[in-house]
Symmetry: C3
């Protein structure tokens, strides 16, 4: 590189940070990507391979030896081969005794085998220390050095410290997951597909489909039958823009409903030292996801609404007759627009606060202030927006086609119920015992000792 | 779990990572949540409790003993009880001698006691090593494993390494805050509510209220008195949409004003080695918050403006007479719209760059390029947008009701002044000495030695 | 601070975490900022300086001594002076022998000197251990404690552990970059200006300018010559709003084009064990940047479109004649609007997922699902949006001024080609061999051994 690099090199042996040789079994994608990266980070790398002929894909500064010779050169051996080939390692058991084996394999399906690959390896080579690591990082990310997807390396057990040092040296973040029993979890991690999002997404699809059909029946089919008007062009924008705000409001309300239930249960039981029912626990854990989906629907509602004049204008140009198409914009006063915009604005703030990097920089009190106080304010604004929007039609008989209420009335049920109950809950005569219960007081103290508890920081 | 787990278990004792027993005093919310988490991470947990009867809420694999017996089993004791019960620990002083006590307590108010809880504990048990930790994490977050709010554990003093290992093993991030004297700060942290945001938010509320009343007087009351028109429906959208852009522009300008002041002060003093006045230091530290509030106002302005045709269209349908209501949209050319959109676009870019995860991935030069160069470009675009918007009314006498200028003229004062001074500052004859001063040169070098400084990276 | 602080102080010497003295050479900006921060974190600090007169800018609790005396007091010496003054250190070589020198200097230009400053220092003082660190953090950020820009400290080589402990104690994140040979890279890092963004930005400027001129010629100049209409007011909004969507669609398509090329190359070669051509590698690495620029153009398109009725309304008020100005809004059905909104919505989702803090919380499979599946869906929706928008003009001869196609037709070429080829690639007869190749199978296995590979996680 330059003339004084010799000085540096001469210096290196003195330092305590001389990197240890790392051995890699397997010259596949991941083995080579990891080797490249290790060499770049200053680790001597030796590959263990059946054919010691050096392919031009293997990093230049790496040595390629037979498996046994390669293993003898290093204290850490990275096993970059597939599970079905693990049994070829059994003859090497003696050489691998006492060494750290890093299992980096992935399976194609969740729970493909009864035991995790790392546990299987530990079973095959009981004399070696098996660590699960690197399986959550992709060869591509290692090679390109891009930050795409996660840089977190989950690892388990064994002589972790050595492996963690390597992980850090590669610029990745080690995440210690405990003993090798966690290997199954670590191996399943990269095969998961948004497990926390499944229920909220199914729920919103189901609700969305129901409301879409409900609207279709009332607005298109009813009109076609009784008024003989073909309003099928409503399907593209008008009906979605009725369904989206309804979905947004209902899902947003569902974020605050479990908190209400929890408060009622705690008041009824007179203690917080009993588990909530399972469904409530699960519901509470997916509140963030529900809220974000609600925000997505609200955003779609905003854009679909803003697009209305574009369509109106175009329609007006082509034919005076279709102007009635946009007649769903009521007016008389602007306040419902202003309420809607402010509610949406607070809602977006909530969304921004739930970004991991932002929420990591606020303390618990600030997080609760935003998610609870500002959240309820947003819910009140959005509910008021919907009420004022539909207010004038509420008692008009023409709004009840086939005696069915308009969907905006349906959408108001849950948020109004929540706001009424919440209003009752903040009365001092209810709030005081609830606060005491949440600080550990018990009406009937038999479940746990009374004195040993600290200030409750429950999210309810 | 599966049949070869025995192999793993047999393996464990050989490894150097055998986890040490952790003792927890107190079986309240936090004590149990922490115990659960510790057991999951492979730590043996023993609870110290008055009644050794095992409640069904305590994690299954945990032992429950009396306080003294429990303490003897572990080197680390987590004190999960409230401050007012600390004195029961004094009889245990002998048992706790030399052990690491982790104080996790929180108070209800800022500076509730003269000394921090951790210092009080250290005073009670002078033979033990007290570490403050975990008080910034909530029991709820520990139990649910969700990433809500912060995962950062601030800790202080003492045998930190042992506690930091535990923090890391739980998947949390330790943040070392120095000696136990920092405990007060750590205890106050979870009680803070956006301390950096207070001044910018009060400022914007004050300014906003002033401009709102100013507009109300000029647009509604003046018109009512002299023209006998009731324009009170302006309150919902029209007046806010005049106040929002004015607030956005002024607050945005206030982000760049302290930099201008700093440059002038440095030029006048001829050195950078003297502190800025306190008000300037504080102002500089809240520039980010001012900018984000300005962005919020700008976003509201955008949505309120985009909503205009919706209202116009609706009004037009109900009555031709009220069309004048939207007469605040001037036109003749589109350029002010284009300028406004581009300015807003750059402003949003600035906002995205200030997200912690994004700003953490840019270097100092890139950050300055975005915040300074692109920031000034956005300021120029927004100022031009306002100027062109109001240009044609500038000299029209009808715009000066009661001899008061329209607020858009008020809003232009600060940004125009900044742009003019900045324009002067980039002239070579001014820029050159300023750059030299910022690189450490002094006109009158008496405050510090001249040679020992490195390239200045000041944000001014 | 309070009365029991003496107890804490007395306690401190017992703890194993007594901080070591740190010596700082140089009392410039950075030296003082670092000293302040170190003292706050509990490190005793001693400054080495030519004049031992204590300036009021130096932190109060720091000692100021001559260089040699200061160096003797500490094991770590932070060299906060400029490179050109390094040679004054040579007389101190004996005192500095065996000590850790932390080089924190920055240069003004990339590759200003043949060797990095740290290597130069190591050359001057061969007996000391040189570590490069802190140069990526600004004095301003250290002093203010703000999170602006990066908190990551890249460091190299030597007695890293001691320096890393200090970095962590200051609340910063150490990033280990290997041997001192990495110092050049570390020194160049803070001088970079978005190196990954350069090509995508130049490309989009070039393409943008081309399409802008193309539109200008066809819409303004052609009309002026043949129809004698002055449409120059198109420049502000109408023409940008034609260029933006075209740019967005083309750049979005360019994100997916390299993946298609890679698949074809792999199918043709029958192996994945050969490097892609260099241009393809580079292209693949800047896909994220291309996508984000495309998103920026799409967002501008959305706002410019939503602004249309504002202008139309204003025009309509001033003169009936200019209403034709907005005639570029076609209609007849709303579906293209709905498609566009949904496509944009998915596009924004992709953008949010590429935020570092979000992408760090998804696993590889989830990341691919979003970026590949949802990405293609967004591309299909956006392409359909453009097709339906322009559909009715496609065969109209008036659309071909000077026999040149409208730009929306040009914009469809790349995305349509991609969608057609992708459609072919998902046919089982093509997809199966491709999947096998990506899992390591080779048609002609001569480049590497066949058995040793793990499941491919390539991003293609």
């Amino acid at each position: 590189m330059n003339k004084n690099s010799s000085n540096i090199m001469a210096l290196a042996p003195n330092t305590s940070n001389k990197r240890e040789t790392v051995c890699i079994f397997g010259t596949g994608d991941f083995g080579r990507a990891l080797g490249h990266k290790l060499i770049q980070s200053g680790y001597p790398v030796v590959y263990g391979s059946r054919s010691t002929q050096i392919s031009n894909l293997i990093p230049k500064d790496a040595e390629v030896l037979g498996h046994a010779e390669a293993a003898q050169k290093a204290a850490i051996i990275i096993i970059a081969i597939q599970r079905q080939h693990y049994n070829f390692l059994t003859p090497l058991a003696e050489v691998l005794r006492g060494k750290v084996l890093v299992d980096i394999s992935n399976n194609l399906k969740l729970n493909q085998y009864p035991e995790s690959n790392a546990e299987y390896l530990a079973q095959l080579l009981p004399g070696s220390k098996v660590v699960k690591a690197f399986n959550t990082v992709s060869a591509w990310a290692l090679q390109s050095g891009t930050l795409d997807a996660s840089r977190q390396v989950r690892l388990s057990n064994g002589a972790k410290q050595m492996v963690m040092d390597i992980v850090r040296a590669l610029g990745l973040t080690p995440l210690d997951k405990g003993s090798l029993l966690a290997a199954q979890e670590i191996e399943n991690y990269p095969l998961q597909l948004f497990p926390m999002w499944k229920f909220p997404i199914f729920l919103s699809f189901g609700l969305g489909a129901f409301f879409f059909i409900y609207c279709l029946v009332l607005d298109v089919i009813y009109t076609y039958i009784y008024e003989n008007n073909n309003f099928s062009f409503f399907i593209a924008i008008t009906i979605p823009n009725r369904v989206f705000p309804v979905m947004a409001l209902i899902l947003f309300a569902l974020v605050y409903l479990p908190g209400i239930f929890a408060a009622i249960i705690q008041l009824y039981r007179g203690t917080k030292y009993r588990r909530f029912p399972d469904w409530l626990d699960k519901w509470m854990l997916c509140r963030k996801q529900l809220g974000l989906i609600a925000l997505a629907f609200a955003s779609l509602h905003v854009v679909f609404t803003l697009v209305t004049p574009l369509r109106a204008f175009a329609s007006w140009r082509t034919s005076k007759r279709i102007v009635s198409q946009v007649s769903f914009v009521p007016c008389s006063n602007d306040s419902y627009l202003a309420l809607g915009i402010l509610g949406y604005f607070l809602f977006v703030l909530l969304g921004i606060t739930s970004l991991p990097s932002v929420s990591n920089n606020v303390n618990w009190r600030e997080f609760r202030f935003v998610q609870s106080k500002l959240g309820y304010l947003a819910l009140i604004l959005c509910t008021a927006h919907t009420m004022i929007y539909g207010g004038k039609w509420f008692l008009s008989p023409s709004a009840y086609k086939w005696y069915l209420p308009d969907i905006y009335i349906l959408s108001l049920i849950v948020p109004c119920a929540i706001l009424v109950v919440k209003f009752v809950l903040i009365f001092p005569c209810v709030d005081k015992p609830l606060t005491r219960i949440r600080q550990g007081w018990e009406r009937n103290p038999k479940y746990s000792e009374q004195s040993n508890h600290i200030i409750n920081k429950s999210a309810v």
